[in-house]
Symmetry: D3
Amino acid sequence: MPIITVKMAKGRTMEQKQQFVETITKEAARILNVKEEWVTVLFDEYDRENWASNGQLHSLKFGEGFGKNGAE
Amino acid sequence: MPIITVKMAKGRTMEQKQQFVETITKEAARILNVKEEWVTVLFDEYDRENWASNGQLHSLKFGEGFGKNGAE
Amino acid sequence: MPIITVKMAKGRTMEQKQQFVETITKEAARILNVKEEWVTVLFDEYDRENWASNGQLHSLKFGEGFGKNGAE
Amino acid sequence: MPIITVKMAKGRTMEQKQQFVETITKEAARILNVKEEWVTVLFDEYDRENWASNGQLHSLKFGEGFGKNGAE
Amino acid sequence: MPIITVKMAKGRTMEQKQQFVETITKEAARILNVKEEWVTVLFDEYDRENWASNGQLHSLKFGEGFGKNGAE
Amino acid sequence: MPIITVKMAKGRTMEQKQQFVETITKEAARILNVKEEWVTVLFDEYDRENWASNGQLHSLKFGEGFGKNGAE
């Protein structure tokens, strides 16, 4: 423990994932008072057609990109 | 908030998903006293070999279809 | 199947939950092509200090209420 | 109920899944005092690049295998 | 890995939980080809008013018990 | 999006939670290329008797504390 699950749109690179994992593992250890080897991180990646907000699928709202350039 | 996650077998169309998202977003706003823009809906789609009930994988129980025609 | 999980702030009444369950079960059956008896709905209720957006716990952002009157 | 979700690396066969489902369904019925037909089991399978421990993605730590032969 | 989550109604004893944990950890190791020390088990316990099937909250359908004596 | 869920033992203070939320929201924005206002963080807190590893409930393995002082 802890187990940290990150739900997000598909499209991040393995480098982004590794950088995020390293950072939040260190911060979890520092702030939540655990050892780094106890921290598990999982990524649940979603296609745009499986994520909706405000009553609309993101595949309809944003098309196929991801990130700050125009879309959630 | 709220965040509504729908776990189901693969096979629904984007039209079915959009229709369901619209409907439950409206109903969540009406019944649970939230704004529609606060409602997030996620679909987690499962292959039949990753869903089991009564001790049996659905890939063995139902084959590859979905919906009311013969299967869960 | 399907299994629908609703994550939201604590504070809704049993009547609100029952009304929401009835409605989304019927809509799931109608739109997603399943039988009503296959639909499971779970509520995961959160204290405000366990839900955060935009970098801030909702207990700090909103205080202790819920719903449209001032807060998510 | 109950609903049992198994998060693990991709790579198990349908035979392994079915054997595990049968076993834990029987044990859930026996130990937790439920009927076998109430037990649902879901498998959430992960690519190695979506699972990390101790600050490192398993795709970097273990390569592409799974199981006891060298890796989690 | 793996991480096994058991969602069920409140009411099981610590002895039932420990017995179930021991059993499924052994079976996961045997069938899924992992080491026992890699297996994590989490219990998510639900009040009856937060679990519904067939359009009805279990608090309305079953009252407050659990297990095979009359209820899911 | 993204939605980040942190499963951990009960016992952290609201200050620890807020500090962790601030930090990972900033890091998610920086590394995963999203806006801070899109990031949701949820804490799922567990009693020791609902978390097990290596075939043993943590209530039996560690007693009632949390953090690095003796326990996961």
